[in-house]
Symmetry: D3
Subunit: 235 residues, 6 copies
Amino acid sequence: MRLHVVNPNASAAMTEGIASAARDATPAGASVTVTGAAGGPLSIEGPVDGAMAVPWMLQRIEEAERAGTDGHVIACFDDTGLDAARCLARAPVVGIGEAAYHCASLLADRFAVVTSVPEALPVLRGNLIRYGLAARCAGLRAAGVPVLEIDAGTPEALAAIRREVHAGLEQDGADAIVLGCAGMAALAADLSEDFDCPVIEGIAAGLALAAALAGAGLRTSKRGGYAAPRQKAPR
Amino acid sequence: MRLHVVNPNASAAMTEGIASAARDATPAGASVTVTGAAGGPLSIEGPVDGAMAVPWMLQRIEEAERAGTDGHVIACFDDTGLDAARCLARAPVVGIGEAAYHCASLLADRFAVVTSVPEALPVLRGNLIRYGLAARCAGLRAAGVPVLEIDAGTPEALAAIRREVHAGLEQDGADAIVLGCAGMAALAADLSEDFDCPVIEGIAAGLALAAALAGAGLRTSKRGGYAAPRQKAPR
Amino acid sequence: MRLHVVNPNASAAMTEGIASAARDATPAGASVTVTGAAGGPLSIEGPVDGAMAVPWMLQRIEEAERAGTDGHVIACFDDTGLDAARCLARAPVVGIGEAAYHCASLLADRFAVVTSVPEALPVLRGNLIRYGLAARCAGLRAAGVPVLEIDAGTPEALAAIRREVHAGLEQDGADAIVLGCAGMAALAADLSEDFDCPVIEGIAAGLALAAALAGAGLRTSKRGGYAAPRQKAPR
Amino acid sequence: MRLHVVNPNASAAMTEGIASAARDATPAGASVTVTGAAGGPLSIEGPVDGAMAVPWMLQRIEEAERAGTDGHVIACFDDTGLDAARCLARAPVVGIGEAAYHCASLLADRFAVVTSVPEALPVLRGNLIRYGLAARCAGLRAAGVPVLEIDAGTPEALAAIRREVHAGLEQDGADAIVLGCAGMAALAADLSEDFDCPVIEGIAAGLALAAALAGAGLRTSKRGGYAAPRQKAPR
Amino acid sequence: MRLHVVNPNASAAMTEGIASAARDATPAGASVTVTGAAGGPLSIEGPVDGAMAVPWMLQRIEEAERAGTDGHVIACFDDTGLDAARCLARAPVVGIGEAAYHCASLLADRFAVVTSVPEALPVLRGNLIRYGLAARCAGLRAAGVPVLEIDAGTPEALAAIRREVHAGLEQDGADAIVLGCAGMAALAADLSEDFDCPVIEGIAAGLALAAALAGAGLRTSKRGGYAAPRQKAPR
Amino acid sequence: MRLHVVNPNASAAMTEGIASAARDATPAGASVTVTGAAGGPLSIEGPVDGAMAVPWMLQRIEEAERAGTDGHVIACFDDTGLDAARCLARAPVVGIGEAAYHCASLLADRFAVVTSVPEALPVLRGNLIRYGLAARCAGLRAAGVPVLEIDAGTPEALAAIRREVHAGLEQDGADAIVLGCAGMAALAADLSEDFDCPVIEGIAAGLALAAALAGAGLRTSKRGGYAAPRQKAPR
């Protein structure tokens, strides 16, 4: 089984980090290819970056689809361009935010999300409402740490993230934690052990669900909302 | 007061039609400029077209914002790129779908939406859920008529639209109708008279609400979800 | 365009204050008449006052309707008697609470409401649920200041209001503020500047939306819930 | 235990019919007094009638409260003036619509409501949403029969009601029926037997719940939304 | 009228306590029989205990049903096995959690629940969502006191419960309190007086509602979800 | 990886059918053990059967847990005893109903469920509400065919199922189908091809998701709702 992870951010360093996380989380019997957007914003921080990144990301989805990929993972916690990607694919397409919420819903009554910066919260809130899983989310929390500092792994960044994980469990009453930022993937195992509860990061969750769907022979619906786009007459 | 209507579809004919509808619906004391996307898909029919159109549309939003516009209207019933446009604007930004739903909510207990083709329904449903107005919508209906035939105004197209308006009122129990396609703007007045109920089309609703917000001195929030995008380091 | 603002409170001083706020917020091309209830409670503080005020208010709606008004605004943040008023009017009718929520929803992802006293909160919560906009409301807050002290503009009252505005933005995570009391209208501009976000008061919002609907040629639905009342046989 | 049923409709004939239904449904150990509004509309058909009736009904609530009633029932399926009545009472106050929905929720997974005329539906829908029980309602149906014809018990009226009861069970998938009109009280027993399912009418349900609350020593909360109205300074 | 209270917990001491509370709360004209499960877990603390207790409890429901009981009350705040019990009964069946939520909804705009230990919260939350009353619940709070200490009535236990009642009213903004544990029944009257608001415990509420339904001649629906179980072929 | 499928129905024939479906759907790198309840009802048709089956099923969960299973699947579309099973397991536990809904949500905007008999619908509806995915479900449909006839594969049974699949797509507007009965597993592939859309059956979905969670190193939360049951003192 061949899985494709696309990083909608144009940063090559970020793509490398995602590739490293994907190597650690490759499902049994699968091989994973990681691609990055050839253009668009270096990092996606809000709706404008997201909008500018999607056309470049869709290119990668189409290329991988033509190459015969069995499943796609969109490696941005905003699930940027997810609906459009599904229109271009027969293989299943999973966003890492969506994947993490669904996995958390199968392991715990309610989960809290800990993400990087407060600006990210409205997009995540909107996604949870549309997916139908908002009632399963006990709290949406921002650690107040920009993505680059998270990548750098400074002690201050780690302390801020741990503080919010603790608050999500104790104040919000969550039973599991979703890490709302691709850059936090490496922290999941330690946090899970320290707080003795599921701590879910999206790249592993996304690869696992894409492999599950593909392995079960399931494909994206081409009826209704995810129908292939109509051909246009030339201008 | 200067208002800006942007057509995210690249079709010049469609932009002309929108300009004509906008002339008929210019609010008192306002002047309206209509622009069209300089590139992207000729018509927006689904999420991929929407995604490819947004970068071109955002260009127009930025230009109009720099030129000192007092309010923006996005003339696509999908409200394509609405969040991203708000991030780039200090002036209010209103989508024609959103505008029509809000107006209908002020005139009737529940409204039905009549749009062109069934593929359009999932995007509209998702928007209604996110805006919070899904419970006010008694029914989402597609006339099964492509946009171009609506523009051509064939008797068959008109008959199909009237049939769904009737069903929305009688079967769904709606008290008002929202026309879910920019190309239906010219039909609103006649339908309203024939069915003796509010029939709301988005261009008039969008211009009216943008003028209302701008006239009241209100501007798009720059906190949280609609903050201006961060500057990126050059690649 | 002729707009009618009715103050359901019988206090003449309050009617004057509303008239002053309405003068500052008259939409372009409109003239505004402000009327006050000829009887009923001096001030509306809870459901009993509201119930006793509505018959008097409906009298004003009927008079203005007969006089040919193009739109009505109910100047009580509880939106007292809104459904009944719509049954009596062909022109659009907008409550100032409802108007403020709709405007806030077009400018921000989520808003917080700051009102006078805690007793007011259940009515506002019920309205938000019925309008469908409860999910857009990040927090409902009472400053703990009675309406008369707000009108008097004491430093303590202002400090209490500012404290709740701050809490709505920082603790509730709102991106905009709705001032939930007609007496706070004069504070909106300063608060908006100081907190650098939209601060919406209902009289301006109500006039703007009533003018928008009327200007777009839209009228209250006479189907379903807002049908004119049936004539009764004499007793 | 002394229970008070108030008919907010001014029709003496209707008050007599309600008194007859109340006699048949008096709970064990209770005595029931039925009063009618001394003024206001003869019958409540929509929000304007409701608004004009409430002040007269509140008078009856206050009189009964002063006389030492242990519980009140508002005998209009719209639950007209329910919040205001609770503000004036220490004893429990139950609306017959609300009572029927709560009883149905304890006997069946989902219920359908069969009422008189379609104009009644929006008020009932709004109430169900506010009470929180909308998801328990499988369908809201109008028999298309005015209240007076229901009272007259014509074969056509009965046939229309039976048709909608059948549709509520078979088409909507309800497991129980709520009769949404005080005039249908006498039909409940026969319909229940014929359709072999609970058929709930509001007067019996309202008396039963008012007696249940009073018998358990429970009283209306005077905190928050149902606090007694504040005294006003004289004008 | 004969009512049956079943304690799904196998603890005889608990059954005695419930019998004592039931004696204090017997509705007018009713006699109450209290039974305890003949096997299963001594106390129900979570879903496994609940699952193991239900078969024993259903036995008691069947016995009482055969003996001609007019109504059943399940005396566990989790409403353990409620759906299954309804399938076996023609008489009404009420859970004490469900009963308390419905009574609170008739006396106050919003209620807070104070229960024993945090592990109990997810079951209660799930029930509130299914019943449809989650929006009426302002807060779910655990006093952090195990059931046995509540029964023992230690000063620490009482202080912890009072602290959460206070927080439910002041922080959550509730207007009434639901005591979420059968062992708290004896505290309701004092708490109600001290905090001057309705404080509802489930045994009284359950008996009152079961008597109300039975007294009104209402019975559990045998359509749909509560149909009697089908006979199986012998294995 | 070792996966455990438990059939809560006591029918050995049904267990064999499930084992056969599980063999066809074993995820890469996994081995599957199928167990059946040693007692309890032969088939689960409603809440009483479910309640009587759970203690026997939990025994199998505990045995498999002790034997070192990496993931459990509960092979009843009602997801009988799911919460209790999670309390007893550290490995992930997935119900086949829940699994099918989550997979469908990743492949389509909205899905319809086609199950065997109408009595099954209320349990499924309640589950969808609790999981949060009710808004993703366009329709719940019963083919009116008992489980044994489905197993027998009569032409009438197949025709009835196809009719409801068609109605779910065309009338409800679903984009994918969930087969709501373990006995329909063998039909999924053909129906998917004939209707050209995803048709999801729960055994494959459940095995895929259990393998996905286990493969990603995720385990059931032991905080909050799924904590291990407390030890009881001996009676």
